[in-house]
């Protein structure tokens, strides 16, 4: 019988908002034993992060624990006094927060931030804490820990910062680790390294882990038990095999069906064998694109080659995915293709015509043929405008039609993206993330473009919403003959929607070809690494069997 670290019983948390109380968590019970990793899975709004916050009593202002208990090794965390809480946090339970880029104090050195835990709990003196901090950083897998300890957070990459946060969480040797989406802000390969490392660190010491994630693939790979939450309730829990192999709850099934990392089915329209044999002429072509950026003098000057000799062709009516991690140059390539920025050298061709030096009125005309959908539907829509005004803006900009015909077109476009006509009068804030992205797609389609650049169009959305938006995009491509340039870091998504794929690393195309070929037998080492980093590897076989 292993020791029970955490017992959450009938927990209920309510947020007080202007529009009345929101019951974020209702009757959640779960437990974590020593040496066990429990994954808490759900979509945004499911209450999983609130549950995690309640375990360390770091709830947002206005949140109140209504009922229930949180028992951490005999300490009643839910009702503990501040002083008692202080002794628990950091010492008995460590927290790895969601976004490493904003979770470290920007004006304090790394070493001091790690050492602070030991100083707070009186575990070590000043010197001892410094030494221990460097050791903790080393254990967290940070290279050159002595140097890093003297640096500031902004001098480290996101992955390195997450390792620092892991060091902070583990330095005092807590019995339980709460990791709230610890890798969702990181690249897949970094994500895998970090999760691997976390596993090694905790398994050796018998530390229990409560892992909060929206990614069933991650949960399947890492957890001993999975707890699925929906609308503030636990809907299912059990071993990964049980939950993923034979889900009992309808929500779990829906979540499973939508998880891109676990589903092999494709959304994209199948191309007929004939079309495959002779691909149509490229509607958009890039030839030897190069883009240099001048580095700021403070960074030592010089130039950074963001895009290095990138060539690709996007055949009409197909989808070409540009895949790569942060800094691979995929977004810059997209901006070059859209002619939003000028290449240092190389050419962009639209329908065989060189448009690299096009400017003025002709460039404006070109804009009608190429539209873009951005990653974040929360940021790319003007919050003060109605949906109708947003969708018809391109029409007004190009003086297409009159007021009546534009209104009609707006209604038509909403219909195309499967939004109700009543949404026309709404503002973005009144819509969900998925609905907003539909509005962004409708706006991109307003001028009937030939090419749509999709810059990470679903990475800000929940998996089930992701699946819906991807289905919509595939349907639109089939109906309207659109060509997509699909920018993504998520190979699982790419596998579903793209016909062709180009893998970018440090500004260069390392591999290019049709999706089946590249995914089945990657030729480049980096591609292989990216593919193996897709979470859910452990579970795919299980799920495949159940399908």
């Amino acid at each position: 019988m292993t020791e029970r670290l955490l017992t959450v019983t009938d927990l209920a948390v309510t947020y007080r908002t202007r529009h009345g109380d929101v019951r974020a968590v209702r009757d959640v019970s779960l437990h974590v034993d020593a040496g066990e990793t429990v994954a808490l899975v759900g979509e945004s709004g499911s209450g999983k992060s609130t549950t995690a916050a309640a375990v360390v009593r770091l709830l947002a202002d206005g949140a109140r624990i209504e009922r229930g208990t949180v028992d951490l090794l005999g300490h009643d965390v839910a009702h503990a006094a501040p002083r008692a809480l202080k002794a628990v946090r950091g010492r008995l339970v460590g927290l790895v927060p969601q976004d490493p880029t904003v979770s470290l104090n920007p004006v304090q050195r790394i070493g001091a931030q790690v050492a602070e835990v030991l100083r707070i709990h009186g575990i070590a003196g000043r010197r001892g804490a410094e030494v221990a901090a460097v050791e903790a950083l080393r254990a967290a897998g940070l290279p050159d820990p002595e140097v890093r300890a003297r640096q500031y957070p902004h001098e480290l990459s996101g992955g390195m910062r997450q390792r620092v946060l892991i060091a902070i969480a583990l330095v005092a040797g807590p019995r339980l680790l709460v990791a709230d989406e610890p890798t969702s802000a990181l690249d897949v390969t970094v994500q895998r390294q970090i999760l691997d490392h976390l596993e090694t660190l905790t398994s050796g010491t018998g530390t229990g882990v409560l892992l909060i994630t929206h990614d069933l693939g991650v949960a399947a790979d890492r957890a001993d038990r999975i707890v699925v939450m929906s609308q503030g309730r636990v809907v299912e829990q059990g071993t990964p095999d049980a939950v993923l192999g034979s889900p009992q709850d309808t929500y779990t099934r829906a979540l499973l069906a939508a998880a891109p990392s676990l589903r092999g089915a494709r959304t994209r329209p199948r191309t007929s064998p004939a079309a495959k044999a002779a691909p149509p002429d490229p509607v958009l072509e890039a030839r030897h694109l190069v883009k240099d950026f001048a580095l700021p003098r403070s960074a030592g000057g010089g130039r950074l080659r963001a895009v290095d000799d990138v060539s690709f062709a996007l055949p009409r009516g197909r989808t070409l995915a540009l895949v790569g991690e942060s800094g691979s140059g995929k977004s810059t390539t997209a901006r070059l293709a859209l002619r939003l920025t000028d290449p240092t050298s190389g050419a962009v061709l639209v329908d065989g015509e060189d448009v690299t030096r096009t400017h003025g009125e002709r460039l404006r005309a070109l804009r009608r043929r190429m539209q873009v959908v951005y990653q974040n539907p929360y940021a790319s829509l003007d919050p003060r405008w109605s949906v109708e005004r947003i969708v018809t803006e391109p029409l007004r900009a190009f003086r297409v039609g009159d007021r009546t015909s534009r209104a009609a077109r707006a209604a038509e476009l909403l219909d195309v993206v499967a939004l109700p006509a009543s949404a026309l009068r709404r503002r973005p804030a009144e819509l969900s993330g998925g609905q907003r992205q539909r509005v962004a797609i409708a706006r991109a389609l307003a001028l009937q473009p030939e090419v749509v650049v999709l810059d990470e169009p679903v990475s800000a959305l929940d998996v089930s919403v992701q699946a819906q938006v991807l289905d919509l995009l595939a349907g639109l491509q089939a109906d309207l003959g659109l060509s997509y340039l699909f920018i993504s870091h998520d190979l699982a998504v790419v596998r579903q929607v793209a016909h062709d794929v180009a893998v970018l690393q440090r500004g260069r195309v390392v591999e290019q070809g049709d999706v089946e070929g590249v995914f089945a037998s990657p030729q480049d080492e980096y591609t292989a690494e990216l593919l193996s980093a897709i979470p859910g590897g452990r579970a795919r076989t299980t799920v495949g069997g159940a399908r």
Binding site: V56, L58, P82, K86, A87, V88, R89, G90, R91, G94, L95, P97, D99, T101, V102, S103, N105, P106, V107, Q108, E116, V117, I120, H121, D144, Q151, Y152, H154, E155, L156, S157, G158, G159, M160, L165, I168, L186, F293, L295, S298, A299, G300, L304, A306, G324, E325, S326, G327, S328, G329, K330, S331, T332, Q375, N376, D455, E456, I487, H489, G507
Partner: protein, 332 residues
């Protein structure tokens, strides 16, 4: 760092030149002859010949560009001209007026920082929501109260009702107190406003939660983590309000009948003593520029993100951004 300083210094000189030029244009190029203004316009006891002689004496018979270049040349040599009221050099007048003003300004600034900063820290720290709200509503009130009224009220209470401090004059430390408090009120209110806003913001940053998750006490999170981050925008505002202290001195010194730069400004403007006014403008601009230069130099010490490269950094990895745009960081 040297380069950074050199650039800032060049900018500072540019600002001074601009301030001088604008004041020259405003004071000399506007319609109305300075000399006629000085000698009461159409008074008949000065003959046109005498006026012409005075104009020639001040170089006012020359075309404006020539006057400008000449004066600028003199200013560069440290000669700000002479007062038309009492014929004394402007540099002497300003030099005499600065110390008493500097005394109340310095004391006022210290009071403003201590009281304003303290109020902000306490207001954001107390657990009681109503107390916090009450304290947070004080700064806007402080900004809204007119200084002359506040100064007169202080005199009424602490000089007449309870004679603790002298109502007027320049003698001793006790004469500094009431003017300094009067000066500190709007300044401190502004600092309190700024700092409390920043503190409330930084306390909600994710890294503040990281500190709490370490087991840090409220005091520790507040003073060791939030305050230093919140101090950054406040420092900028402090640089700006020091300029405000000089203009505040005009009202304060008038109310308390103190000699000083404020009084000199008021009397010189009243007497249309243009060379003195211009000298004061130049002095105020210099103070302003120096203070902001100091703030710029202090900033990198408080915020490591602003520091210029001083030592080669070991292999800095690119910082991933959410958009996947390559980050232009690193490469030492």
């Amino acid at each position: 760092m040297t380069r950074y300083l050199a650039v800032r210094l060049a900018q500072a000189l540019g600002v001074l030149w601009a301030a001088y030029t604008v004041s020259f244009v405003v004071l000399y190029a506007l319609p109305g002859d300075p000399v006629s203004l000085m000698y009461g316009g159409d008074s008949s006891d000065i003959t046109p010949e005498q006026l012409a002689a005075v104009r020639a004496e001040y170089g006012l018979d020359q075309p404006l560009p020539v006057q400008y270049v000449r004066q600028l040349g003199r200013v560069l040599q440290g000669d700000l001209g002479t007062s038309v009221v009492n014929g004394r050099p402007v540099t002497d007048l300003v030099a005499e007026a600065v110390p008493p003003t500097a005394q109340i300004a310095a004391l006022g600034l210290v009071l403003a920082l201590v009281l304003g900063g303290g109020l902000a820290i306490v207001a954001t720290f107390v657990r009681s929501r109503s107390l916090s709200q009450t304290l947070l509503s004080l700064p806007p009130l402080g900004v809204a109260i007119p200084s002359f009224w506040f100064g007169l009220t202080l005199v009424q209470w602490f000089s007449f009702t309870f004679p603790v401090f002298p109502a007027v004059g320049n003698k001793g430390f006790s004469s500094l107190v009431l003017p300094a408090i009067t000066l500190a009120l709007p300044t401190g209110a502004l600092i309190a406003q700024m700092l409390s806003r920043s503190l409330l913001g930084t306390l909600h940053e994710p890294w503040a939660d990281t500190a709490r998750a370490k087991g840090a006490s409220r005091t520790r999170v507040h003073l060791q983590h939030a305050l230093r981050n919140a101090a950054l925008p406040t420092l900028t505002v402090t640089g700006l309000v020091i300029g405000g202290l000089l203009s505040g001195a005009v009202v304060t010194e008038t109310v308390f009948s103190r000699a000083g730069l404020g009084r000199l400004t008021a009397t010189s403007v009243g007497a249309q003593d243009i060379p003195v006014v211009q000298g004061i403008v130049l002095f105020a601009a210099t103070v302003y520029v120096l203070v902001n230069l100091l703030v710029d130099v202090l900033y990198p010490l408080l915020d490591p993100r602003i520091v210029r490269v001083r030592r080669p950094r070991p292999a800095v990895a690119p910082v991933p951004t959410s958009s996947g745009e390559p980050a232009l960081v690193g490469a030492a």
